[in-house]
Symmetry: C2
Subunit: 598 residues, 2 copies
């Protein structure tokens, strides 16, 4: 075991010696820092044998080391056995970060290398700082390991499709005009986008090159006069070509981006967000022009959904809510009666969702977690490790779909039988948290840092907390995690905060996790709406998009204020009203019971 | 009327012509940007005749203009009549700011002047930006108007006194060591402080050079080896000289600061906070060394009160709470029975406070506002404009004292007779706001921007708001307004936020203001305390320092959650417990009734 990888590392070390590279970094990333990495880009897995979704390999003549986080310590130890690769357990005491490791080991005159296409500019600039004044060379222009991977999978090149204007609500010319207006404001002659969801949004196209993200591998280069889309030729259909042509977007081969940027005429500054671009392209552009290193202008535009998008999103969330509710009813009915486990019920839910009209794919792999498994952050059942489900305790399911009319995300926790008083307390507080935040009225100008405490306070009051953010933006037929707004409380002066604007959508997902016992999360997606405007300013609020019952079997009203009870009852009344068209007969009766007033 | 000022302006214009200055700015400030300006520094009032506490005069050959804010429009119009000075009403539509006025009117080749000692570096740098590339000279080294003011009052030079170590809890050597540690961290060889309360804190001294602020005009220059205090020689007693000498602080004449900084040896960078220093000194230091332009290191140290200070503060707030409570009882008993007005009752309260052991002076001029007057921000009754008080409606009093053992600040609003349902609603919501915030438990790391919504939410939920911050820090026998922490919600990326630390004290003062009707504010001071520490982190909370009943005659429990009622009753129970030692007989009965459970 591990023999193949041992040989691969040895061959890589030989290549590095020939190339004059002393330390070589292989991260887990594609050229666009996507949340999911397709097989083509799994170079780190190929070299190390470690199959986890996160990890970085560093190879030198004397050592190969793999850095990964707590989710994967057990798996990595087992998969790295025999390879000779040293496991560096991130955030364990006395374990150096990669930056610290390189800072300590790399000597003056040495060279640190990586494929500059799969390392983002942020990390690359960090390395520059670490080695500043140390006479260390950063070699980022070649993928040294490439030659070793003979049977490398094909790079994804799915067919691009056009989002019809009746679905996206705004044409490409209007979007380009808004982008160009922002460029003028910033004094930028050009804009380079590498962030795939921004590019998809801008050109009203979608594809399937990244799991769960309906995007195509692409770049775009925009000036006041023209727009160039770099995309794989085989991804384009005649319809897409026509669409782009009609919108004056020139198509150029994806692989010519470097040559193009090296040779094109550049007038004035280039807007290029260092957080969203590879180190290679960042350096290339930097060598040719003055940079405007700011958040992509498309980021905020994409986040504020237009009325047509919102109309589709509302409908989409109803059908998605209905299917999840049916699944949860099935779970409560059948737990303890039919054999089930975390994987089998996830497969059942995924199958039910696939039957919903307009379904494209999942928006992320379903998190299906029973009892203490739900207490683990990022838990993911695998065929090696999963739990059987019985008629007791809590079951947590966090799931969502990509549809032709929206992207969904929702979490519910349900009691499958007896639960303790502490579990009821936690569940009730989390429900109050979610509903209070959704019900908050606030003045325009508030950011997520102002509002986060509204969700967190019921738990903080008990000396409890959930160690994750309260919410994130969500795309429209796009990535389930989207910026620039969010709900969090920690102060980080370097982070720009974004005000909530009418038409944004955001998740509201407080939780409570007790190690070795249980995990609870209740997640609705809400849209930001305008409330009354008066002498004090423009008041804003949220409106639920998600309508799924909150399990009353786990609610104990003694832990609620009267206003919390009113809020829960009002929510359930609207759940019944919104979902009843999707139910009939006995199921409708179950819905009625599940949404009864308490 | 206005003839004298007309002549003064004309004579100033002549002097400006001789000095080659085209626009001359006279702000309302001393050399230290103090909150209150002593008579010696009232040059703007001398030249213009306008006696308001805020305003800036700009004089050119063709015009003299006075800028002031909404509080003073009526007064300024009347006081400027006949002087020929044009009134610029700040924030009115189409009224330029001073910056806009100068930007538009000052031509290339012209000179803008001011006394660089009374203009802060922030404003000076703004002017530099406005005139960048315009060939405009900024002349800041002479006080041109000085020659006109023959009978100028003497500059204050009150006697300095030493705060005994049993009162301040930390000696000068320890404070200097902490400051020098911070200087080392920032790589600064020297630190220049001009902020008077920071200097008083550092050397454990106090004085009386600024109304309501127990400070002495001074500067200090600190290096790793030594510390120099620039202070008026007549302010020093033998005791103070001995104290400073024992602590290795050299005393130098206040007026030699410029000469000293021009000639002293400077090794390395100079730490000098641009927000807290005059433009003249900023430019001087800038010409001699590289600057570290960051918040004074003393700012945060001073804000975190030590256990000895806290012990005194808690006692001080009790006696101050008792005297205010007695005053409020007297008001409620006597309104409508004995003649009273805003000024007479303020004088009565000030007199009662003066009788409290350890009283030094007021910590700010008492705000005594009846009915609709309380709806005006910064209302201040004057002998020309004040209201009689009857047995109806709301009376608001915001007041505080400087004592030998602390600085207090407290606001209460009381019903003197019949009030409307709307007034009850507003009063009840404000009381809930204040008490909820004081009762909030939060994780260490929170800043005022996280917590502000806890106070504001009960009002926001009704579409209401108060257009001021929720809270500010308070000094210890020092300024009643102190940084660096605060409670506010608006996002201003350029503003550094400060986490709440154990031992900070902060005001909790929500309000509600309805023009032409009523104004409500309920203000307690709270200290930041540690609560439990567990796997989620260090929880923090607040503890009341102020114990004054909240008028139950204006509370309507229908607007409260059960938890709000519990909170109010618990607060009143502790008010009774803490204050009863200060009361006896009939007054004790009144206290019992005022703090009864509802």
């Amino acid at each position: 075991m591990g023999e193949i990888e041992k040989q691969r590392i040895a061959r890589l070390q030989k290549l590095l010696g020939e190339a004059g590279i002393d330390y070589y970094i292989v991260p887990t990333a594609d050229y666009h820092n996507s949340e999911y990495v397709s097989d083509y880009f799994k170079m780190r897995e190929f070299l190390s044998g470690f199959t986890g979704s996160a990890g970085t390999l560093v190879v030198s003549a004397k050592e190969a080391g793999l850095w990964t986080d707590g989710r994967y310590f057990v798996q990595a130890e087992s998969e790295l056995a025999g390879s000779g690769i040293v496991l560096y357990k991130q955030q364990e005491e006395n374990v150096p970060t990669i930056q610290e490791y390189l800072g300590k080991n790399v000597a003056g005159g040495q060279t640190v290398g990586f494929d500059g296409r799969v390392v983002d500019a942020f990390f690359g600039k960090e390395l520059e700082e670490i080695f500043a004044g140390k006479n260390v060379t950063i070699a980022y222009e070649r993928d040294i390991a490439e030659a070793l991977w003979q049977d490398r999978p094909a790079r994804p090149a799915s067919k691009v499709w056009v989002v019809p204007e009746k679905s996206c609500g705004m044409g490409v010319p209007e979007k380009l005009a808004k982008v160009r207006e922002k460029m003028t404001e910033e004094g930028a002659g050009h804009l380079l986008l590498a962030k795939l969801d921004d590019i998809m949004w801008l050109y009203n196209i979608r594809a399937n090159d990244v799991a769960c993200n309906p995007v195509a591998l692409s770049y775009t280069w925009i000036s006041q006069e023209g727009a160039v889309l770099f995309i794989q030729p085989e991804a384009l259909t005649d319809e897409v070509k026509k669409h782009l042509q009609e919108n004056n977007v020139a198509c150029v081969d994806y692989d010519t981006i470097t040559a193009y940027l090296n040779n094109c005429e550049i007038a004035g500054k280039v807007w290029c967000s260092g957080a969203d671009i590879s180190y290679m392209l960042y350096r290339l552009v930097q060598s040719r022009a003055e940079l405007v290193d700011k958040e992509n202008p498309t980021e905020l535009m994409k986040a504020v959904k237009n009325p047509v998008e919102l109309c589709h999103i509302r409908e989409c969330y109803l059908k998605d809510s209905a299917v999840l509710t049916k699944f949860l009813f099935w779970m409560k009915e059948n737990a303890g009666k039919v054999p089930m486990d975390e994987l089998s019920v996830a497969a059942k839910l995924d199958g039910m969702r696939a039957g919903v009209p307009g379904f494209l794919e999942l928006s992320f792999p379903t998190i299906s977690a029973y009892q203490s498994n739900a207490a683990m952050a990022h838990y993911s059942a695998t065929s090696e490790h999963f739990s059987r489900i019985e008629a007791e305790g809590f079951y947590l399911v966090d799931s969502g779909g990509q549809y032709e009319d929206g992207t969904t995300d929702v979490t519910r926790t349900i009691a499958l039988g007896a639960i303790t008083d502490e579990m009821k307390l936690h569940f009730t507080k989390v429900a109050c948290s979610m509903l209070r935040l959704a019900d908050t009225k606030f003045l325009h100008g508030c950011t997520g840092r102002n509002l986060d405490i509204v969700a967190r306070e019921p738990l903080w009051a008990c000396g409890l907390d959930y160690k994750h953010g309260t919410g994130h933006g969500i795309g429209y037929i796009l990535n389930v995690h989207e910026g620039p707004h969010s709900l969090r409380w920690q102060y980080r002066p370097e982070l720009q905060e974004t005000q909530f604007e009418e038409g944004m959508i955001v998740s509201d997902e407080p939780g409570m996790y007790v190690q070795d016992s249980h995990g609870i999360r209740t997640e609705n997606i809400v849209e930001v709406v305008k409330e009354d405007k008066n002498g004090y300013g423009q008041f804003m609020g949220f409106r639920h998009l998600t309508y799924v019952p909150i399990d009353l079997d786990a609610i104990d009203t003694q832990y609620m204020e009267p206003s919390d009870i009113r809020r829960l009852n009002a929510y359930h009344e609207s759940v019944y009203k919104k979902l009843s068209p999707f139910f009939e007969g006995e199921a409708l009766e179950m819905l009625k019971k599940a949404t009864r007033a308490v």
